[in-house]
């Protein structure tokens, strides 16, 4: 069952010392220069690094590269990044993800992965497919997520109903940046789930929720449901044995009880706060002068335009569905396609793990 423990590899502790030296250098750089300068690896530097790694992977490895791409080094590196991540997980902020030691460990994993994938590809046999999917997929994903993300842009566009904008605020720098299209917000709206109603019996002091199964013989129809900031109001009509009335009820604000509707002598109808169903910005995107795209941007339904995706982000919370503006998040990630390729290779690789099980 056990593979032969390569005694030469074991005696060879120098590679661990090198890795620890790199981490130590990272700690020193962190102390002297602060966070890892992520902007510096933006295009074209990241592309050059990616090409260099692929060249490295295809080169015939000498002694050093063989050691750098060996399994014990992999394990050592995975343990290292795990320890760093545990530290990150315990810290209240996640500054560690942008630190030198983390970036250097990440980079060493990329080198190690490139080397082992290269080795397997050169001696490819069909049964290596799962291995390649997992390791090459992870390599591509880590490359796109780590290096490629330096090219990504996250912008926020606050836009009023009826207005048009073609600039947005950078999340990191706070600068206003132009975007290669114009957006007009036609409408912003919030949809709510049907509110829950309660019947308060003042004589018995019992409050009961009306559900589909339990309606106390009452039929409540809700005509208009509006919100003014936090308070929701509904025009309801209640029908039942000896009851036929209508009026406004409201959910109340911040523990303040809302409006209730008297149904009969002892009973009142009250309304719970309705749950949000969707936030929706209806926008028109104008590219140049001629091409016009209409779209409803909702949570989980971003609008796509080239390498841009536009997300529903925020609105005027005081005003609720009467908000005059919407805040959209504009994200551009030019490396998203390789990232997806990596993710789908890993998904296929996971299936192979499942299939191959413990047979090494």
């Amino acid at each position: 069952m056990e593979r032969e423990g390569n005694s030469k590899q074991k005696a060879d502790t120098i590679k661990y010392i090198i890795i620890l030296a790199v981490i130590t250098a990272g700690v020193l750089l962190q102390i002297t220069t602060g966070q890892f300068p992520y902007d510096l690896i933006g295009y074209p530097v990241n592309l050059m690094i990616a090409i260099a790694l692929i060249v490295l992977a295809s080169a015939k490895p000498g002694k050093i590269l063989t050691a750098a791409g060996s399994l014990p080094v992999s394990v050592f590196l995975i343990v290292l990044i795990t320890i760093l991540t545990i530290v990150m997980g315990l810290m209240p902020d996640n500054r560690l993800k942008g630190s030198w030691p983390f970036a250097l460990t990440y980079f060493m994993i990329l080198i190690n992965l490139a080397l082992i994938v290269g080795r397997r590809v050169r001696s490819f046999r069909l049964r290596d497919t799962g291995f390649i999917l997992n390791h090459a997929g992870l390599f591509i994903l880590l490359l796109s997520a780590g290096l490629g993300a330096a090219d990504s842009q996250h912008l926020f566009m606050k836009i009023y109903e009826g207005e048009t904008s073609s600039s947005a605020e950078d999340y990191v720098t706070g600068n206003r940046v132009g975007v290669p299209f114009k957006l007009t917000l036609e409408d912003f709206g919030i949809e709510y789930y049907a509110p829950k109603f309660f019947v308060i019996d003042t004589k018995s002091g019992i409050v009961e929720q009306l559900s589909d199964d339990f309606r106390q013989g009452l039929n409540v129809t809700c005509d208009t449901l509006t919100d003014a900031g936090y308070e929701h109001e509904a025009m309801v009509r209640v029908k039942g044995p000896g009851v036929d009335t209508s009026g406004w009820v409201s959910s109340g604000v911040n523990m303040q009880p809302g409006k209730v509707l008297q149904i009969d002598r002892d009973r009142y109808l009250s309304m719970g706060e309705p749950q949000t169903k969707s936030f929706c910005s209806s926008v028109v995107l104008i590219n140049g002068n001629d091409s016009v795209l209409k779209n409803d941007i909702r949570v989980n339904h971003p609008m796509r335009y080239g390498s841009w995706r536009i997300y529903q982000f925020s609105y005027d919370r005081q005003m609720g569905s009467h908000s005059q503006y919407s805040v959209l998040e504009l994200v551009r990630d030019p490396w998203i396609i390789p990232a997806y390729i990596g993710i789908f290779m890993l998904l296929a690789g996971a299936v192979s793990l499942f299939w191959k099980g413990g047979r090494l």
């Binding site: 991540t85 545990i86 997980g89 996640n94 996250h154 049907a194 993710i343 413990g358």
Partner: protein, 257 residues
């Protein structure tokens, strides 16, 4: 309403699946369970096909519809694993999970689409969560096996290692699928597939620890020491699943709803 017919299809499919599980335990041959199982799959797929045709679009829009696929996939996965590894209990387990989802759909096909906050209204929601739950089950079983191994005297339990290896790999397969689907979902919902949110940080730690096991397995000779990784990893898994919201790092987590 086509959903009102669901009960007939569901009861018939479940009958065949439960019979298939019973047949696995009772009969030595695999023919009977195979026939039973595939008949169940056929009946269940028939309902999905009918729903698809009447809808005019693939039934993937509502939560009830995604649960339908999940009920089907989960038994198919259990079945394939059984074919491959002969784990009888896994077939029983996946049939049980499928039954739970079928029952939810029977009681209220739409119950979960009412009240779901916008970020959770996604076709990824059901597979993402359930694949994780499957993984937890596998890793839980692996942890029990590893503790028996650690407590026992080596030789006698040699066969347990093979079981732990299998369970950890299958469990890790599910764990990685859960993470990757989560990443795809996050990209649709929030614009980034990975942000080192506390929940993501702990999911990463957990997966990396299981990776250490899988890779160390090929070079370590001291199996007993190695086996300790499994309970430790399971502890981390529990932190990722239940504990994250109690950590100081979680104050800004988007995952603590």
């Amino acid at each position: 309403m086509i959903w009102s017919e669901f009960i007939y299809f569901a009861v018939i499919s479940l009958f065949f699946w439960v019979s298939a599980v019973a047949a696995i335990y009772l009969s030595k041959k695999k023919t009977l369970p195979n026939i039973m199982f595939l008949t169940g799959v056929f009946v269940f797929s028939l309902f999905i096909a009918r729903l698809w045709l009447t809808n005019g679009h693939p039934p993937l829009r509502t939560m009830g519809e995604t649960r339908l696929w999940y009920s089907l996939f989960i038994v198919v996965i259990g079945y394939i694993t059984w074919l491959r590894w002969n784990y009888k209990w896994l077939m029983g387990y996946s049939t049980l999970v499928s039954a739970v989802f079928i029952i939810i759909n029977l009681l209220k096909p739409e119950i979960h689409s009412a009240g779901l906050m916008p970020a959770l209204q996604s076709p990824w929601f059901v597979p993402h969560v359930t694949v994780y739950i499957l993984s937890y089950a596998m890793m839980g079983a692996a942890t029990i096996a590893s503790i028996i191994f650690i407590a026992g005297n080596g030789e006698k339990h040699k066969d347990l290692i093979g079981l732990v290896d299998n369970l950890v790999r299958i469990g890790l397969g599910f764990l990685l699928m859960g993470m990757l689907m989560g990443a795809l979902w996050a990209k649709e919902a929030w614009g980034d597939y990975w942000t080192w949110d506390p929940k993501e940080v702990w999911a990463f730690i957990t997966a990396a620890t299981y990776l250490v096991y899988i890779h160390l397995r090929r070079i370590t000779i001291n199996l007993k020491l190695l086996m300790w990784i499994i309970p430790v990893a399971f502890l981390l898994l529990m932190i990722a699943w239940l504990g994250v919201s109690y950590l100081p790092s979680a104050v800004n987590s988007i995952h603590t709803y």
